[in-house]
């Protein structure tokens, strides 16, 4: 199809959908008037039953923990896929040379950048850790904290440079971290079954409401997620940044990737 024909087709289809969309929007509950019974019920019963303050964490790690398990493995699939697709051609070897664009001057990293990164990096990681451990009481949790922790390691890249970063961050350790975190999460599901409870049933002592140690099993699941997400995102950044390197030798052909 020519681009014009295609856009005409799309326009016609969207115009055809318009009355339907208007009808649906007209009959949806008024914005801000009420919330669904499911959410209302959870708000009503979970603080007492699970001793946690953050309902979203309670849903993610307890009531609907299976969704989070799936989500965790979706992330694992995507990162494994990214690794497979990016490494396919360049293999697993790493280069410690930085990329050079012809015609661009090579600037040494300024003292200020190095210093800022050395200061901000640890602070960011501390903040990430705070977010992780406070999952059940304040906003945030393993996922958000994990991403922030991964960004912290990224700052090490900005501050220490590529070679230094590559020295610190080893790819198969990240694999182990990611897989281990995910494994811990599955284990949190399977272990209660040994005691005769249901998959992912919260069998641990629940702790006291609004306390850091509240939520029982949720805390371990949360740690697993944090570990997996932090390892996964660092791996993701690492593999992506690798793409901007110049390859050391002649590239092998794509055939070997099969």
């Amino acid at each position: 199809m020519s681009p014009r024909l295609r856009l005409t087709l799309l326009g016609a289809a969207l115009a055809g959908l318009l009355p339907g969309a208007v009808a649906v929007i007209g009959r949806l509950p008024e914005f801000g008037a009420t919330i669904a019974a499911y959410g209302e019920r959870i708000n009503a019963i979970v603080p007492a039953e699970r001793h946690v303050a953050n309902m979203v964490s309670a849903i993610n790690f307890d009531l609907r923990g299976l969704d989070t398990l799936g989500e965790e493995f979706m992330l694992l699939a995507a990162i494994t896929g990214t690794v497979v697709l990016l490494r396919g051609r360049r293999g697993e070897e790493t280069t410690d040379r930085a990329m050079r664009l012809p015609g661009r001057a090579i600037l040494p990293r300024s003292e200020a950048v190095v210093l800022t990164c050395r200061l901000v990096g640890p602070l960011l990681m501390l903040f990430g850790l705070y977010i992780v451990v406070h999952a059940t009481v304040t906003p945030g949790g393993g996922f958000q904290g994990g991403v922030i922790l991964a960004s912290g390691t990224l700052l090490a890249y900005l501050g220490e440079g590529y070679a230094g970063w590559r020295d610190v961050v080893r790819s198969h350790w990240l694999d182990a971290m990611e897989g281990g975190g995910a494994f811990l999460f599955v284990l949190c599901g399977l272990a209660p079954m040994l005691t005769g409870a249901a998959f992912m049933q919260n069998v641990l002592p629940l702790g006291t409401f609004r306390d850091l140690y509240s939520g029982g099993l949720m805390l371990i699941e949360n740690a697993g997620v944090a570990l997996a997400v932090c390892g996964g995102f660092t791996q993701l950044f690492l593999e992506f940044l690798e793409e901007t390197r110049e390859s050391a030798g002649p590239e092998e052909s794509g055939e070997d990737s099969a």
């Binding site: 979203v56 664009l101 958000q144 991964a150 960004s151 793409e243 901007t244």
Partner: protein, 88 residues
Amino acid sequence: MSVLIPLLFLITAVSGTAIVLIRDPSRQIFAIAANGIVLTILFTALQAPDVALSELAVGGAAVPLLFLVALMAVRAGTADQESGGDGR
């Protein structure tokens, strides 16, 4: 609040449309990051701090970074090609 939230929804619509309309990827990155920030503010206003925090980490930082790196990789490839490097 009753003025702020509709306004934020409208800004979201505008910033999303901007991503579509800015066709140069190197400038689109800014629109993507801006959209991430706008969504973060909207989510905060909608009383969803958990979601806002993830959107800030993912949509405001991680995703624009991935776009940036992809763009750099493509640029490096283009430079290779121009200088007769290993690009095809």
